[in-house]
């Protein structure tokens, strides 16, 4: 037995050594992403895989990119571990907001203006506004790849059968839910267990009430005020229309409930379109989209939550030209057309895509997006830090679970903020 083991060991070591291939003059870069390119059924991910394959094929012998993939959960941790180990990926995906700030502030992400100006790359984009969340001190630090807007998806058939009409105000929404409940279907399906989903709803309610996030983040207002509490109370009020298993359902389960026609309404980002239509092809024809309702006496109802995946480049990369070339592939016409036509997300460039090929819901989403007066980010990505976002999420879930009243929940957020500002003041000394 020992001899066998020795042989196996020798062979294994040999194989190990052989696998250390030597690189030629090909410029090797790495690209980090938060989903597995092979195993995922997410359409956008599959689109990205095509981009990588195209890039490697077109630039064979000159550039080569190796994807580093993780799961979504540990993405930033893994990324940070690599940064700490001085092995920052050359190009990596990142969400705008505090997450991006984490890499801009310490100089990990490189400014990209000079590359954007050259070759008219910047002009291919839909406008300067797409860079709003990626600009710091007038410099652009990341390239947006696509935009998704959070809207309300609904099942037209169930609405008609229940006698419900598309709501434009919160009261009308409650009314529609009542009718659907009486009809026997679950009015709203949502994943209350996945904190960001619930917090997306909370964000909309807060914004519609007129909560001033800028003031809060500048420590010029308190989280405990009538607007936030009103928003919180509405969230609790709406929760009576959630599906019974809301607390335990994953995002996946909640979306499935919609396209399996168990529930009528889903508040989600347009990234879910691909999932819905893929899960049930019959659903596309029945699915309508409406903008998140206004709150009477509240804020501008044409504000839309939008999120864009962005690519940043490491400031310590050895091959910036290769990186930029890769980034350009993500924003070229082929990739952007795919984003719209197959992925169902909103492209960031001026590309012309075939609206007929695109999922039916996308047209509705584009209408809402086009009519939007302004976009704002997910609340949990727009606070003072990403930790603040997580804390906010958890408080919203606690509020939904009726562990805390809205006052208590927002007071907790306020306490957290005060703590944070105090620490910042200490550090400044």
């Amino acid at each position: 037995m020992k001899k066998l083991l020795a042989v196996v060991l020798a062979v294994a070591m040999l194989l190990g050594m052989v696998s250390i291939a030597s690189a030629d003059d090909v410029q090797e870069i790495t690209w980090m992403f938060w989903d597995d390119l092979e195993a995922s059924s997410d359409l956008i991910t599959q689109g990205f895989k095509q981009v990588i394959d195209r890039f490697n094929a077109d630039y064979a012998g000159k550039y080569h990119v190796t994807p580093i993939t993780t799961q979504l959960e540990p993405y930033y941790t893994d990324l940070n571990a690599l940064v700490d180990a001085q092995k920052t990926p050359d190009v990596f995906i990142v969400s705008p907001g505090p997450n991006l700030t984490d890499y801009v502030a310490p100089g990990i992400a490189a400014p990209l203006d000079e590359y954007l100006e050259a070759d008219g790359w910047k002009d291919t984009f839909a406008g300067d506004a797409v860079f709003a969340q990626q600009t710091y001190d007038g410099k652009i630090y990341a390239i947006p790849l696509n935009t998704a807007a959070a809207c309300v998806f609904y099942n037209r058939e169930i609405f008609d059968a229940a006698g419900a009409t598309v709501p434009t105000t919160y009261t009308e929404l409650l009314d529609a839910c009542e009718k659907i409940k009486a009809y026997g279907k679950t009015p709203i399906t949502i994943s209350a267990g996945t904190a960001w989903c619930l917090s997306m709803l909370a964000g909309y309610l807060c914004d519609r009430e007129g909560v001033d996030l800028k003031a809060l983040n500048a420590n010029e207002a308190s989280w405990v005020n009538e607007k936030t509490i009103a928003a919180g109370e509405k969230l609790v009020e709406l929760s009576q229309y959630f599906q019974e298993t809301a607390a335990g359902d994953s995002n996946d389960d909640a979306t499935t409930a919609l396209y399996m026609e168990d529930a009528a309404i889903l508040i989600q980002g347009s990234w879910a379109i691909g999932q819905m239509n893929g899960g049930n092809p019959d659903f596309e024809a029945k699915c309508g989209v409406f903008q998140f309702p206004a709150i009477e006496g509240g804020n501008d109802p044409n504000r839309v939550i939008a999120k864009s995946d962005s690519l940043a480049m490491s400031s310590t990369t050895k091959y910036p030209e290769a990186c930029i070339a890769l980034m350009k592939y993500f924003t070229d016409d082929i990739a952007q057309k795919y984003t719209a036509e197959v992925g169902g997300k909103i492209p960031v460039t001026k590309v012309e895509y075939d609206a007929d090929k695109a999922p039916a819901q996308l047209a509705d989403v584009m209408k809402i997006f086009g009519a939007a007066s302004a976009t704002f980010g997910f609340y949990n990505e727009s606070l003072v830090s990403s930790d603040a976002g997580s804390y906010f999420d958890d408080q919203m879930v606690a509020m939904f679970q009726k562990e805390k009243t809205p006052e208590q929940a927002f007071q907790a957020v306020q306490d957290w903020y005060q703590d944070y500002f105090a620490k910042q003041a200490e550090k400044a000394e």
Partner: protein, 288 residues
């Protein structure tokens, strides 16, 4: 059967079936179902399509979706993952047994003052949870280029497998009769020969048990593998299985084939060697 009934059985030729025995059999039959049913169910589910899973979770699939398996195998790179796991586990196994039995021999049979302290040092290692050393190890390894490298996994696996090996092997070595060692000494063996040619073969069972426990423990290890390895081509099997949980949705129908592919080899190996495992545990437990 108790001694009394056994004797009774020899006297009469008609064995009576006691009610207690029947009850015992019923209990264990239920237990067996409880243990096998979930795996069988996942097997059935792994052959369904997505809508089928939601609409009819307990029924049989209409068409056996064998493509789920080929997709899981290819997309999850399960073949590569298995090879990686195999490489890591075999190498860890080899070194664990080598270093572990050496130390067990030194602690168990050789005479030196600090042997007790050394044993304590090693046993305390058994109690350290992996999570505590995760961060420092990662940073340190990254500094020397061991991150994203299978050897970076082997070293910690080896270290964490050593205490069990030493513990078990010490028991086995201590049970070797003194006379054997003395006669070897008289024959002029060096201590190394005594160790290698006499004690090791005698403790074959111990080596076997340790080997199995080490291999299985490391085959299933998830946390270190998740944190240390990023390269798709270097991921081990447990990590590969978790790949099917995407940011926005869980691929149940692709995940279950992966799960089954991951655990069926373990089941097969286990079924083949289960009796040895039991014998080894018995001896090791009673003597240790």
């Amino acid at each position: 059967m108790t001694a009394v009934t056994a004797k009774a059985k020899i006297k009469e030729s008609k064995p009576k079936v006691k009610t207690s025995t029947v009850l015992i059999y019923i209990l264990f039959a239920i237990l067996v179902v409880l243990y096998i049913a979930p795996i069988v169910w996942i097997g059935i589910t792994s052959l369904k399509t997505r809508p089928e899973i939601y609409k009819d979770p307990f029924g049989l699939p209409t068409v056996l979706q064998w493509e789920n398996y080929s997709f899981a195998w290819n997309a999850g790179k399960l073949g590569t993952a298995m090879l990686n796991s195999l490489f890591v586990c075999v190498v860890t196994l080899f070194f664990t047994m080598m270093f572990g039995s050496m130390s067990a021999f030194a602690i168990g049979r050789m005479k030196w003052k600090l042997s007790g302290a050394a044993m304590m040092y090693i046993l305390i290692g058994m109690m350290i949870p992996v999570h505590c050393v995760l961060i420092p190890l990662f940073v340190r390894f990254a500094g020397v280029g061991l991150d994203n490298n299978l050897w970076g996994l082997i070293l910690p696996y080896l270290t964490f497998s050593l205490p069990t090996c030493v513990y078990i092997m010490t028991g086995f070595f201590r049970n070797i009769p003194n006379e054997l060692l003395e006669s070897a000494c008289i024959d002029g063996c060096s201590i190394y020969r005594t160790f290698g040619s006499i004690c090791l073969p005698l403790s074959r069972t111990g080596l076997f048990v340790t080997g199995l426990m080490t291999f299985i423990g490391n085959w299933n290890e998830l946390l270190l593998a998740m944190v240390f390895i990023h390269d798709d081509t270097r991921k081990t099997l447990p990590v590969a299985v978790t790949k099917f949980v995407s940011p926005y949705q869980t691929n149940y129908e692709k995940m279950f084939p992966a799960i089954l592919i991951a655990i069926i080899p373990s089941i097969i190996v286990y079924s083949l060697f289960s009796n040895q495992i039991v014998d080894g545990l018995t001896q090791g437990a009673v003597k240790g």
